[in-house]
Symmetry: C2
Subunit: 328 residues, 2 copies
């Protein structure tokens, strides 16, 4: 029997579904629309049909498939309750008991579980990726926002209410930049992809850098990829964006390290494609900001999950943690 | 049989030893000098003799005493290794394998364990104090420095190397005040007792407040107790010190909450004697700095451990956690 797990990644407009083997490879995938009218019942019907069809298709190729369960990554996913709660970028109103609704549709499955996407990514890293065998690590996902998932003693930290691991919303500069959450000075406002863009424009202003490659794009056009390309061409503003972003990530990572003393901190997401441009200043800054006891111990590593499939793969990994727990 | 545990609190000049009953009461205690010449062997001899004598004295009163083990709180205590490592305010050189040395002296005891004092305080709160029954909480000890102990899923977080829980050394203001550790801007430099004194002098300077009750004491004389007394008399500078300290504690607590989503955050130590002067602005600031998901959920509570005995009581609680683990 070939063991597989279903991974579901719920985004604002699109829900990605994949069948993932026990090495973290997506062997078959599909997409359905995430409803914009907030109709939960129809969505659960659509999702169940899509999952059943995907399993049937996969069984045509390999009839010996053992589907272990369904793992779901969703914004504001509450692991304990199996619910999506007041997610700002989804049309569902209030609290959606998604796990309960899916259990009715898939009574035969061992495990159905849900968490937020960054927590799912952390579990994916632990089950299939670079954190295999690690008991204490933290995952940071850099994108439109900054998400995080914390693993302590081999288990994801959900905290008292299921929502732990919001390190993107720790304060870097009190009274600083406005964050997407409405509060100020959070590291997400500095170290996310849009944060890097804001830093680029701050530097253009500071130096009146009309000669920079970044000076010819509008505030809405510029993205972290363009900053990386400019840095590679030797653009000083672009290079300073990476230096500053790394400096700020390093301060933030040191704070997280002083809480948790992790073995490694993983970075995932668009900005990490810049490699040493981002990893080197981050590592240097973190080391500068660590207590002596912690220096030269904590690795900063790129995620080993494949960028495109990572949300599905991460979500599917939840299934293995659930089964592990139910076997204790 | 009356169950008791030995608590040992190792300080720079003095080591306090106590026999603690299962309700957290110290039933007998003693002190020995912590050597200033760094002689570990003599210290272990002295400590063992003192513990044996204390047990014998206690047994004269109650022959039915069941001594479960020894718990030790020490600066730079490494729980995993049972060692004290490069503690700046102790005369011992390098790494001292204290648990191993004591196990030779007390082969009959079920558990001998060691951690740092703030971690010991957190375990004390969980076993005997206000955190009974809580699975996720954080303890902050405010004194000369700011220590912390983190509990996740009912267990203390030691991290990958045994040193987790140094929240006092997270950055509040990048490039800010010099911290005792040599780095800059840490919350300890703002929210410890000496941090409050520094804030008082900052405000005296800012307002040229010659009329303040705090204006007649030298930088070396002023302490958090005097600031509290001045605040009670209506001194504006003293009141603003508490407002600012609470504001900063609240930012810091929100950062910790965004990591861990605890049920409660406990505060212990001298400055907490000021009650609402410190708790009220801290609570307000934390709520202001929390994501909506976390608002109005997390309690900020005073420690229920008795101030004088807390280090001994906290250390003794380690014994119960060790026995719990060995029974799994």
């Amino acid at each position: 029997m070939k063991k597989v797990a279903i991974g579901v990644d719920i985004g604002g407009t699109n829900t990605a579904i994949g069948i993932v083997d026990d090495l973290g490879n997506v062997i078959l995938k599909d997409n359905i629309a995430t409803p914009t009218d907030g109709d939960v019942d129809r969505y659960v019907d659509d999702l169940s049909i899509a999952i059943h069809e995907l399993i049937n298709s996969a069984k045509l190729v390999n009839p010996d498939l053992n589907v272990l369960g369904i793992g779901i990554g969703a914004p504001n996913g509450n692991y304990y309750a199996g619910t999506i709660e007041y997610a700002a970028n989804l049309a569902f109103k209030g609290i959606v008991p998604l796990v309960k609704l899916l259990k009715v549709k898939f009574p035969e499955l061992q495990a159905i579980a849900l968490t937020n996407d960054a927590n799912a990514a952390a579990i994916g890293e632990m089950i299939y990726g670079g954190a295999k065998g690690m008991k204490n690590f933290v995952m940071f996902t850099l994108g439109t926002g900054v998400g995080s998932g914390i693993v302590v003693n081999g288990d994801l930290v959900y905290g008292s209410d299921g929502f732990a691991g919001e390190c993107g919303h720790t304060t870097l500069f009190p009274e600083g930049r406005l964050c997407g959450c409405g509060l100020r000075g959070h590291m997400e406002a500095y170290c996310s992809a849009p944060g890097m863009k804001r830093t680029a424009f701050e530097l253009l202003v500071k130096y009146n850098a009309t000669n920079s490659l970044l000076a010819n794009k509008s505030f809405n056009e510029l993205d972290s990829k363009a900053i990386f390309e400019a840095a590679e061409k030797g653009d000083q503003i672009a290079n300073e964006v990476f230096e500053l972003t790394g400096k700020w990530l390093g301060i933030s990572f040191a704070d997280t390290a002083h809480h948790l003393s992790p073995e490694a901190i993983f970075m995932f997401g668009g900005p990490t494609a810049a490699g040493d441009y981002i990893f080197k200043p981050t590592k240097e800054s973190m080391e500068q900001n660590l207590l002596t006891t912690f220096k030269n111990k904590i690795k900063i590593l790129p995620s080993q999950l494949k960028p495109g499939d990572a949300p599905i793969v991460g979500a599917s990994a939840l299934v293995y943690k659930e089964i592990e727990k139910s076997n204790i």
